[in-house]
């Protein structure tokens, strides 16, 4: 089996957004989903395009243009779909992230997820 493609943190988020959106994954919806996932951070739409291009070049997603629609001034949407290599990469990255979360939770306790902005790190510089 080919070596699974390694992905960065933002690529991980974008792949997760494409997976969550299914057939309705295109620029605007992917950007909205990504902002939802990384909230309260904001993300530039351009950063999402650049990442989608990179994922496509790595063979992790494929894209195609839909038929033009009048509500977008007669322009097409570029839809994205996860490829099997993308699914593998997303699964591997998510497993690693889960392990990190489990370790963090084991050391800092479950409060780390619920304390929100009131939570303070144990060591402060």
């Amino acid at each position: 089996m080919a070596h699974p493609e390694s992905i960065g943190q933002f690529e991980h988020v974008v792949l997760a957004a494409v997976l969550a959106l299914g057939d309705s994954a295109y620029g605007v919806t992917i950007h909205t989903k990504v902002e939802e996932l990384v909230s309260p951070r904001t993300v530039a739409l351009g950063a999402v395009y650049a990442t989608l291009d990179r994922l496509e070049d790595k063979g992790l997603v494929t894209s195609w243009l839909s038929d033009p629609t009048p509500e977008r001034g007669g322009r097409s949407k570029r839809h994205y779909r996860l490829e099997s290599a993308g699914e593998r990469a997303l699964r591997d990255a998510s497993v690693a992230a889960k392990r990190i979360c489990d370790d963090v939770e084991r050391i800092w306790g479950e409060d780390v997820w619920t304390a929100g902005r009131h939570w303070k790190p144990a060591r402060q510089s």
Binding site: Y26, L45, G46, D53
Partner: protein, 353 residues
């Protein structure tokens, strides 16, 4: 919230036209559509576009240009600008302008540029960037403009870049995304195979003729050099030129037979791509390494002469460093091209499955 634009909520025509013009053509359709869909006010549209377009251009540059290509072009121009080296600012501006011209041309063109006419147009953009840079120098510091002989050098450099781009389409001619596109019909496949064969034959011819020309040209220093190290070095360099010409000529792509069906044609094409990929991937072994002995002897001979005449030895070290650097760049470029071919072979393999 319904964000669909109505007649009242579409961006102003002029702003829309400017934004459309700034987005590279290959992604214009969907990016402008997405920006329209998010439209709320002219200001929001402008800010949205300003935050999107730089990423889109940068991504397109990443897909269409290679660092190795830019370094090779810059090096070629730098050598030609040696004439105007006393005007460093103007030379740097000329290099930057020409590189910007090439990179933006590659990012903003539609499809691939592999024909002689398309490559010539690419060069016009590089030259345009260089001339624009000198126009700016003329406005700021007119006395610092490049001297006329430097332009003659640039002309020669653009000739070399023209041949390099024809010989190796990886240096900006073929964007990354073109490698994952798969031919939908048998006719499209045959067209691609014939284009590949033409490109390969042309690349082989340029490389082989250059090898023969180098071999012939290097005979002059073989007879006129003042010491044996130089003579043997130039003789080895001349033999290297012939050796490359023969090896490259032998590696020519045979034309695909006319009678093949889709599956067999696809298998033939993938086989040829794989053969080409192996040749390119091992370029360091058959192309770069055999160059080393001749080069070292030439440097040694030149160093002996310099020592006899009491001249400094550091130019020899700089020459070795430059040649080693170019060797690394050529190696990295070939590995990048081999990776792209791998992607193409895999993409074609997905049809076969």
């Amino acid at each position: 919230m319904d964000r669909r634009p109505t007649l009242e909520t579409r961006p102003p025509v002029l702003i829309d036209a400017v934004v459309r013009a700034l987005i590279p053509p290959v992604c214009r359709e969907h990016v402008i559509g997405d920006l329209w869909e998010r439209y709320r006010s002219p200001w929001q549209f402008v800010l949205d576009a300003a935050g999107t377009i730089p990423f889109v251009i940068a991504s397109q540059i990443r897909r269409t240009s290679t660092l190795a290509g830019v370094i090779i072009y810059a090096f070629t121009l730098l050598v030609s600008l040696g004439v105007g080296s006393k005007r460093t600012g103007a030379a740097v501006a000329a290099l930057g302008g020409a590189m910007l011209g090439f990179v933006l041309r590659d990012a903003y063109k539609r499809g691939i540029s592999v024909s002689v006419r398309q490559v010539a147009v690419d060069l016009v953009f590089g030259a345009g960037g260089l001339i624009a840079s000198q126009a700016m120098v003329a406005l700021v510091r007119p006395r610092q403009m490049l001297p006329l002989p430097a332009y003659a050098g640039c002309l020669a450099a653009f000739g070399v870049i023209f041949l390099l781009r024809l010989q190796n389409p990886n240096l900006g001619g073929i964007p990354r995304q073109a490698m994952t596109h798969v031919p939908a019909t048998f006719e499209a496949l045959v067209t691609e195979v014939r284009l590949f064969e033409r490109m390969s034959r042309r690349g082989v011819r340029i490389e082989a003729y250059t090898g023969v020309a180098i071999a012939a040209f290097f005979i002059i220093p073989v007879v006129s050099s003042p010491n044996w190290a130089l003579r043997i070095g130039w003789a080895l360099a001349s033999a290297y030129g012939l050796y490359v010409a023969v090896v490259v000529w032998k590696s020519q792509t045979p034309p695909m037979p006319e009678s093949l069906e889709f599956d067999t044609a696809l298998a033939h094409y993938r086989g040829e791509l794989e053969r080409r990929r192996r040749i390119i991937q091992t370029l360091w072994r058959w192309y770069l390494m055999p160059m080393v002995p001749g080069m070292l002897l030439i440097v040694a001979g030149a160093t002996i002469e310099a020592a006899k005449r009491g001249r400094p030895l550091w130019p020899a070290l700089i020459f070795i460093a430059l040649m080693a650097g170019m060797g690394v760049v050529i190696h990295l470029s070939s590995q990048g091209w081999a990776r792209k071919l791998r992607i193409r072979i895999d993409a074609l393999g997905s049809i076969a499955q």
